[in-house]
Symmetry: C2
Subunit: 306 residues, 2 copies
């Protein structure tokens, strides 16, 4: 049996606007998906998970098939079983699907003795996402594979961002499930309807992302907090927030977070709060009191999938 692990992610800055070619900052966090692969007597590919529904295991099944085909692997008279165990909440904008796919791909490639390049792993991860929603940006499989913090642009161009100070994020799950596809479409409609306003928002987001990147590199943690707040306002502007998300975002700030925002597509899912060192616990418990379904204290996962 082989084992692989892949981290989930948070978007620190730039979600939604990344779809329009603007840069985004994405970080791997130490919430992880584990996959275990082994040969079994029963023919075919078998995916098991205690938690993930059968529907969402289908894409994994498909990419493992793709992997075998692309490498001309023939299983002859045996099969492959992949067991998945993930601590990343589902449909919450934390890259759970991508991490599960990446971990599965790596576990199977180890089992078969295949050496995959990072780019091949990501490309298979993107294929898995395509089975779920039409045209994914590729941001989730990319960060899960690389780890750390990346400046990401549409088309998969990445640049590593090296933080000089450790950062503590509190992630709070609103408990509201949403579809990334629907939120992306909603923003698409807004951008077509009000192109000039949207152009202004895009320009602003680009500047926020640039300033946030500099803040991470130079350890200006308060400034990073300001950028999270600015970013959140733009997400509110484009209509991907709601009263529960706002409550969590503002409560976090009111109990001392340096900044807080929706992370990911919005409409539900998670918010993140940047905590002063040692203040994560207090912020986390206030977020639970404010109605968060779950909270996670997360640090950046320096190492990607392995």
């Amino acid at each position: 049996m082989t084992e692989a692990v892949a981290p989930g992610k948070i978007i620190i800055c730039g979600e939604h606007f990344v779809v329009y070619g603007e840069p985004a900052i994405v970080a791997a966090v130490d919430l992880k998906a584990y996959a275990y692969a082994s040969f079994v007597d029963e023919l075919g590919i078998h995916i098991y998970s205690s938690r993930v529904s059968e529907v969402s295991l289908r894409p994994i099944h498909e990419v493992i098939k793709l992997l075998l085909e692309s490498r001309n692997v023939r299983l002859d008279n045996r099969g492959i079983a992949v067991s998945i165990n993930s601590e990343i909440p589902i449909s919450a904008g934390l890259g759970s699907s991508a991490a599960v796919a990446i971990a599965s791909i790596l576990a199977v490639s180890k089992l078969l003795g295949l050496k995959l390049k990072k780019r091949e792993v990501i490309s298979l991860g993107v294929r898995a996402e395509e089975f779920i929603h039409g045209r994914p940006s590729g941001i989730d499989p990319t960060i899960s594979t690389y780890g750390g913090i990346l400046l990401f642009k549409r088309g998969g161009r990445v640049r590593r961002i090296k933080p000089t100070k450790p950062m503590e994020f509190v992630i709070a799950d609103s408990g509201i499930k949403r579809s990334t596809g629907i939120m992306v479409r909603k923003v698409g409609e807004l951008s077509s309807k009000y192109p000039e306003v949207f152009l202004g928002l895009r320009y602003t987001m680009r500047k926020i992302v640039r300033r946030a990147m500099k803040a991470i590199v130079e350890g200006e943690i308060e400034i990073l907090g300001d950028m999270l707040n600015l970013n959140h306002g733009l997400l509110s502007a484009i209509g991907v927030s709601n009263s529960k998300l706002e409550r969590l975002v503002y409560v976090a700030r009111e109990v001392g977070a340096l900044g807080s925002k929706i992370t990911g597509a919005g409409g539900g899912g998670c918010i993140i709060a940047l905590a002063k060192p040692g203040e994560s616990d207090r912020i986390a418990s206030s977020l639970i009191d404010a109605g968060a379904e779950a909270v996670y204290k997360a640090r950046i996962a320096e190492v990607g999938a392995m």
Copy 2:
């Protein structure tokens, strides 16, 4: 005895950014301040109000003095009493101080048989505001004097906006008192610290205001709602919101408002929600349930102070 009345106001779009030279849309609403002036035996100027504190009556006292001096009015052996009665909530961003000042100026000028031009009335109203905070934009005395809806730019340039459809706004007071001056300073600090981001926000707000103006003129009420929402996101971005204001803003949308936003300086004060015709009552009662201290159904006051 003479009587004068002056309306309060809401900012439909563009607050804060108006300080930086961007246009704003401001509307007079049918919440009013009344002033009654009469000659009295006791020498001097006497201002009375059942509601307004003595401190905030001081500026009125000063501008009435200014008015008398500028017109060389001598009271000889009598005085003037001004009684104020206002239905506009105080320190809530609804232009209460300006309306009270404008009504008082008009009541006294009627008593003295003076014919003041609108510009003179506004100019005295601005002087009254200067006694309270340093450098007011002049937006409040301007709209209270003119009534209707105005596109306003710093320096007092105005252009009348004629709506083609009646608009119903619900105003909800968060009950949180705040200082306009402090909020304006806070935004000033943000703009100096992150000039490029702020430039993007300014550009975006300008586009929002232009589109909102067109929507009012052409009766595109849903589009006006979208502009309120976009505007609100930018106010959240610049840090003038809080969890209570967000609750009111989002609850209004969730119960069917076409758009909702903070109006005025933020940090407290009021939010406005644009209601579909006939839906004001439902939105108003939901806002009370959500914790608003008071709600007001407001229509545009077509006529200014008189």
